[in-house]
């Protein structure tokens, strides 16, 4: 007798199966040596989960995340998009193995710069260049002299990723100049667009908070392309580059 699949057992316990299917699953469980023990173990696990993560605390966090999505209604903000990144663009490019630091005028807005690796060499991409699935892309952060920066991305299917620093507990310090990330990405074609966001502040940033804010935005397809991340900070600035993907 094969093991009864977990989804069926879970939904049986929830009373979510139609009567004939429920009867079949009960019969299969009764016919397996550990059927009763399995159900008892799930009861125990329910109690353990609710004790470790109580409903009130869980609901509080859900409502907090929901409010974070609600406050980011799309609206224009002067200077929110950096001059060097197009307000809307259909290109993404990346891949730079090494970029020498560039002179930056103090007080210029921080920006994201994108390159693509072509035949082993980096190619700078102007706004408007179209990217295809499979393209290798690398980001560089052009810092304006303020101390700390985090780069995240979000796509049209609700996914969000951290790009700089490379770890959730990584250092967000940002010296003036150009800082390529230490890795490249291969563009997939699983979502209609990809948006990179650079968050800069005078004070240290928490990559976890920035990524959580990006995930909250990504949940809402109506705002994911444009809405600013709900991040608190005295001198927070956000820079975005959005591109649409062209499948192979």
């Amino acid at each position: 007798m094969t093991r009864v699949p977990d989804p069926l057992v879970e939904l049986l316990r929830q009373g979510a199966l139609d009567p004939p299917t429920a009867a079949q699953v009960r019969a299969r469980l009764a016919a397996t040596p550990d059927g009763a023990a399995r159900l008892a173990a799930l009861d125990d696990d329910d109690r353990a989960i609710l004790a470790a993560l109580p409903p009130g605390r869980f609901a509080e966090e859900v409502h907090r995340r929901s409010r974070a999505v609600a406050v980011t209604a799309p609206k224009k903000r002067a200077g929110w998009l950096a001059a060097a990144a197009a307000a809307t663009c259909a290109a993404l490019l990346v891949v730079v193995i090494d970029t020498p630091p560039a002179e930056r005028a103090k007080g210029s807005a921080p920006t994201l710069v994108l390159h693509r690796l072509v035949d082993g060499a980096p190619e700078s991409l102007p706004p408007g260049t179209t990217l295809a699935a499979g393209d290798l892309v690398q980001l560089s952060v052009v810092a304006d002299g303020r101390g700390f920066g985090v780069v995240v991305s979000l796509d049209g299917e609700g996914a969000a990723s951290l790009h700089r620093p490379s770890a959730l507990d990584g250092d967000t310090a940002l010296a003036p100049g150009v800082h390529p990330t230490d890795h490249a990405w291969e563009i997939d074609d699983a979502a209609a667009f990809e948006r990179f966001v650079l968050v800069v502040d005078d004070a240290p940033l928490d990559p976890r908070a920035v990524l959580a804010a990006a995930k909250a935005i990504a949940q809402n397809p109506l705002t994911a392309r444009e809405a600013p991340l709900a991040i608190e900070g005295k001198r927070i600035t956000q820079t975005s580059i959005v591109f649409t993907k062209e499948p192979r």
Binding site: L8, Q14, G15, D45, D46, V62, D188, A190
Partner: protein
């Protein structure tokens, strides 16, 4: 339907969290995604009914976990030493990279709901009828989606 998240979590939350743990193999990530699943419930509370809530939450958890896994897989390629170590440590590099690339191409243009059905059928081992019972589609609808997916997989493999 007006949603009491705390009550909903009490009744269905452990099931959601177990599903996330099973698919993500990471407790912290599972708790994170479980919260996101219930955020989606809040956003859709005007459209949801109590009947079918458990099935909705189960499929939503599966879908959110697949999104998380896909985001992980988009993680940047390491360079230099880390890449060399990865290559050196894999005896089946050609097969591994090939299989990953093929799966990515097969699933790239599929609807999220099809991916959920594929996980239920190919990973969890449910029959077409059982998948239909979980996702709330007709058996013929499930069969058609998974056959189209299988045909696409065949085309991708034949094209390599």
């Amino acid at each position: 339907m007006s949603v009491d998240i705390a009550e909903l979590y009490r009744r269905h939350g452990p099931m959601v969290l177990r599903r996330c743990r099973r698919l993500l193999a990471d407790d912290e990530a599972a708790i994170d995604v479980a919260h996101d699943v219930f955020v989606k419930v809040l956003r859709r509370e005007a459209l949801l009914e109590e009947k079918g809530m458990a099935s909705y939450l189960y499929t939503a958890a599966t879908r959110e976990c697949l999104n998380t896994i896909r985001a992980r897989n988009r993680a940047p390629r390491p360079t230099e030493d880390a890449v060399l170590h990865e290559i050196a440590s894999r005896d089946d590099l050609a097969a591994w990279t090939g299989a990953r690339a093929l799966l990515a191409r097969v699933f790239a243009s599929e609807q999220p709901s099809t991916r959920v059905m594929a996980v239920l059928h190919h990973v969890d081992g449910l029959t077409y009828e059982e998948v239909a019972a979980v996702v709330g589609l007709s058996v013929s609808g499930v069969r058609k989606r998974l056959r189209v997916l299988a045909a696409r997989a065949h085309d991708v493999v034949e094209g390599t």
